[in-house]
């Protein structure tokens, strides 16, 4: 492959827009048939500016898609027990179809305990043990939103995964680990690399599919991308920089996600889609 060739760009913004459009149509159908719009409850502990912005953005997207949202703003002093109580209340509330706990919640909160207070059928952000196990064993349940968005992108671009070597760089609970499990479920041979991996470039050079999910700017060098590989950059670092050195990588990959406009927009799209799916199931509306 000549270095003057460049990879096809994955249009994450476009797929996200189509996903949201379909989701909005389904939300409207649910409202028409049941008199109830899907409802996402968002909970936030404290007032971290980035978290406040994320929640506001998610709620604005909900509104545009015909999804109601209900925000629970909790003081920074909220205890784990209080947060668990709030989330259990939302889990029991038939007027709420999906629950999003914005995280990180702060060091004084036992996040795992909080997540587990979310009923599996309302876990539209895919953070519970139930959802992780569902992703790992292909059993019924929701997916973590960013890994779910990655899988939708790969499917939209007809990327064959069976028998391919997928290298996931990163092993976080909501991104790297579930992404690897979803790729494994599609019959890829999956390698998890991380901060303790010795000679990361050697692994990247063997990858048919690279998923970068670590949050370190340009950690993955373009010259290590195998010619013809598919590169999914889920990293997002200050200055619109991903985990992959895009400029060089695009001269070697056959398909690559830009940052921004690649994986990023899919995360919220999956959140909205799963909220509407949760509402449809809870309200007994079949997919028409």
């Amino acid at each position: 492959m000549s270095t003057t060739e460049t990879a096809q760009l994955v249009d994450g913004s476009g797929l996200a827009a189509r996903t949201v459009e379909e989701t909005a149509a389904r939300a409207a159908e649910i409202a028409r048939r049941t008199g109830t719009s899907p409802c996402l409850a968002t909970a936030l502990v404290g007032e971290d500016p980035a978290s406040v912005t994320y929640v506001r953005m998610k709620r604005a997207r909900c509104a545009k898609a015909g999804i109601r949202s209900r925000h629970i703003a909790l003081p920074a002093t909220t205890t784990t027990a209080e947060l668990v109580g709030v989330l259990k209340g939302l889990s029991d509330d038939p007027g709420v179809h999906g629950i999003l706990l914005q995280h990180p919640c702060g060091p004084h909160i036992d996040e795992r305990a909080a997540f587990e207070a979310i009923a599996p059928e309302k876990d539209v952000d895919g953070v519970t043990m139930h959802s992780f196990t569902a992703m790992s064993f292909s059993s019924p349940g929701f997916v973590s939103c960013t890994p779910g968005g990655i899988m939708r992108l790969l499917e939209a671009y007809d990327v064959e995964l069976a028998g391919k070597h997928a290298v996931v760089v990163g092993r976080s609970a909501i991104l790297g680990k579930p992404a690897g499990m979803l790729l494994l479920a599609k019959d890829a041979t999956v390698t998890y690399c991380h901060s303790r991996t010795v000679d990361l470039p050697a692994f990247v050079r063997e990858a048919d599919v690279v998923v970068a999910a670590v949050g370190r700017p340009r950690l993955i060098r373009g010259e290590d991308i195998k010619p013809g590989a598919v590169v999914i950059d889920a990293g997002y670092n200050p200055g619109n920089v991903g985990d992959v050195d895009f400029t060089t990588a695009r001269t070697r990959a056959r398909l690559i996600t830009p940052v921004p406009g690649g994986v990023g927009p899919m995360t919220i799209a999956v959140l909205l889609a799963q909220t509407v799916e949760a509402a449809a199931r809870q309200l007994g509306v079949e997919h028409s």
Copy 2:
């Protein structure tokens, strides 16, 4: 490395015996301090001869270690709902500290539903979503017994895992997948290979640690073992044959598990150890 050198053999039988000895001492201490011996409930649906033998063997080992067992033999016609009822009853029974559902349960049983009826604190066989997530995220909980046994063997032989490349061949819910997660938690770079992997030998050749967990006799050829690698054979096939071609592999590995006497004995040892640990926690007995 000359081919006349041979690997050190992992003495799984010896470590298992020591583990059971420690477990028996702890069971005796619990009985002395509380008046109650640890109790494992075993449940079996139907009368599959192999399953009957496995349960009998496990109960006999319990008895030798001072662990009581209570067996629930259910007819082959038992429904999922009935099995769930039995397991919930055992979960609620303060006289039972650990629960083992012998599986496979037969095609008419929803095994996942049955497993989830086991309370996490009594899941000494490590089959629930809670236990899988605990293994995946290093959170509190029990481990699946065979992967747990593998990790104890690696620790007993001071096998350094951080930064090493561990190749797990197999991706079953109770063996391959959790083994990979436990290795990842120890900072290994982990690759999952399986039946759809293209060129398995190429992956094996790169492995510092090979975990064979697939149940295909001598699938892994000795000549593909990297000189100096650690080889863990969790396969068990008719005729005492593992998943690794032992004769050749031992000329290249530095440490290798024999079949039998390697991984196998550790599985029951971990089951017993976790049963006693569960009893200690439920009865409020601190480790002395």
